[in-house]
């Protein structure tokens, strides 16, 4: 990259099953207010804003139109991303690298509690060949889970271990929604939703917001004593029709990771990355995404989650925050991973701190069976 881009402040709301006490702009305001207070900047210092929200989840057409005044876009510049917020961070990085924008506010918010998640997801499928079958993201995920488990011999117990570890980690995260004291047997005994996916293999409905301020290297050092740098970032799409790809593999994630690693100079991810925050709305996704990210070979994700490596204190702690499974909203989930990684790299992650973390991997995805994958590598050196 020509000039480095730094993240100078991050904030999240505490994730909650139903924030009826606030509307969308008030929810966004909670997170934005914190990053302004931390930096001493005001909205008038922002050159632009990149927001992330999804129209159907917000229940309105062009969902950024009602939050302009809380993102500094009243008589100002704003762009809206409808995928995951991690792509809003990417877009902000691009704006800064263009040289035309300098200090950029990034914001993502979602109130899943306000809509019918299954109906909204169904509307994401092509209208002619898939939507009429009544599919939603969880039934599609169940098709992917079965295919992945069949092809590589991944077991329900291995997926359950992912749930148990993420919930245990979430207890150390003050922003976590519903950290649960659960065992593998609890997961395997929970209600079957869409076989092979059980209730505890998924996340609960969640409301929340996340905000960040990004700046170019020349300005970062005046604004924070603890800058975190974007070392590499990329994203990649899969085809939409589910029959076109082998759902046991995640080719788009492999490509997104490879490009981000090339930018960041990473050749051995397991050795060079100190902590990973990845987005897994369903438990089977953690071993699958870990394969796609190159932390192990294809089909070896189950063994990796069985090992000590992904636990706190292991070679590659995965989701010290607890990740998405204890409750993060779509759209915010991947950006929350970036926020958590920033806290890790600033040494401000409290009880979930990975000691001496210098390089972090963050991951977000959007859509059906991880159709759109995004990877961002951060560092503090």
């Amino acid at each position: 990259m020509a000039e480095r881009v730094g993240i100078i402040a991050v904030a999240q709301t505490k994730y909650h099953p139903n924030r009826t006490d606030v509307n969308e702009e008030e929810l966004a305001y909670e997170a934005i207010k914190q990053v302004l207070e931390e930096t001493g900047l005001t909205l008038s210092d922002m050159d632009s804003a990149v927001t992330c929200s999804q129209d159907f989840l917000d229940g309105r057409t062009i969902s950024s139109m009602n939050i302009q005044h809380v993102v500094g876009a009243h008589l100002g510049h704003e762009d809206n991303i409808s995928e995951d917020g991690i792509n809003a961070v990417y877009a902000a990085m691009g704006q800064i690298l263009s040289g035309h924008q300098h200090i950029v506010l990034v914001e993502a918010h979602t109130k899943e509690s306000q809509g019918d998640k299954s109906l909204i997801e169904n509307a994401a499928f092509d209208a002619i060949f898939m939507r009429q079958l009544g599919l939603d993201f969880t039934s599609a995920a169940a098709l992917q889970a079965r295919r992945y488990m069949y092809k590589y011999g991944i077991t329900a117990e291995q997926c359950a271990k992912v749930v148990v570890r993420n919930h245990a980690n979430a207890k150390n995260n003050p922003f976590a929604q519903e950290p649960m004291d659960i065992s593998v047997d609890d997961v395997l005994g929970s209600k079957m939703l869409i076989s092979p996916i059980r209730l505890l293999d998924t996340k609960p409905i969640s409301d929340g917001a996340c905000a960040m301020i990004l700046a170019p290297e020349g300005k970062v050092k005046k604004l924070t004593r603890k800058p975190v740098w974007i070392l590499g970032a990329s994203n990649c799409y899969e085809t939409h029709y589910l029959g076109d790809r082998d759902l046991a593999d995640c080719d788009a994630l492999v490509k997104a990771a490879q490009k981000a690693y090339n930018m960041a100079g990473i050749t051995n991810p397991l050795r060079q990355i100190d902590v990973a925050e990845i987005s897994t709305e369903y438990s089977y996704q953690e071993p699958l995404w870990l394969e796609g990210l190159g932390f192990c070979d294809q089909g070896e994700g189950g063994k990796l989650v069985d090992s000590r490596a992904t636990k706190m204190g292991g070679k590659l702690p995965v989701n010290p925050s607890g990740g998405v499974l204890p409750g993060n909203p779509n759209g915010v989930a991947g950006m929350a991973r970036v926020a958590e990684a920033v806290l890790q790299l600033r040494g401000e992650a409290g009880d979930r701190q990975v000691k001496g973390a210098k390089v972090a991997l963050t991951h977000g995805y959007t859509g059906i069976c991880g159709q759109h994958q995004a990877v961002m590598i951060l560092g503090n050196m």
């Binding site: 009826t20 006490d21 229940g59 299954s118 109906l119 169904n122 209208a127 002619i128 060949f129 898939m130 009429q132 079958l133 009544g134 599919l135 939603d136 969880t138 039934s139 169940a142 098709l143 992917q144 889970a145 079965r146 295919r147 069949y150 079957m192 939703l193 869409i194 076989s195 092979p196 996916i197 085809t239 029709y241 589910l242 029959g243 076109d244 759902l247």
Partner: protein, 156 residues
Amino acid sequence: MQTVTEKLEGMDVWIYHGQINIPNTYSAGAVGSRFLIELRDKKRIMGTRCPACNRVYIPARSICKDCFGQLDEWVEVSSKGTVLTYAIDYEVKPIQPVEHPIIYGIIQLDGADTGFVHMLGEVDPEQLRVGMRVQAVFKKEREGNILDIKYFKPLA
């Protein structure tokens, strides 16, 4: 539109119940339309073959995802195939076209290079296996819709 506004107990917050009802029309396109007409009129499952990579796409489509080439060679594939994966949905949802539990499947039809996303029926969920051989069951009254195929059932 009927609307209800409720006051949440113990909070000075008002919740407004709304619904956006927007009718839409979706074109299946020239190639998608022919696929649906073949289903309706001849109970044939048609794909298109890419001249560059030789891949046969089901449902038929007009553009190859890898080659970006236009596909105009039509190929009939078998109505029999192999289950690549399946999911049994026990949840009751308004979007579902049949009574629950609904079994989704991706089927590799003989002669096709892509999977076909549909439903499975006339099968005990306990007996279902990846790799199971199945065949399409067509509806009697067909209207040019993906649901003209009722589901796929195990081969006798």
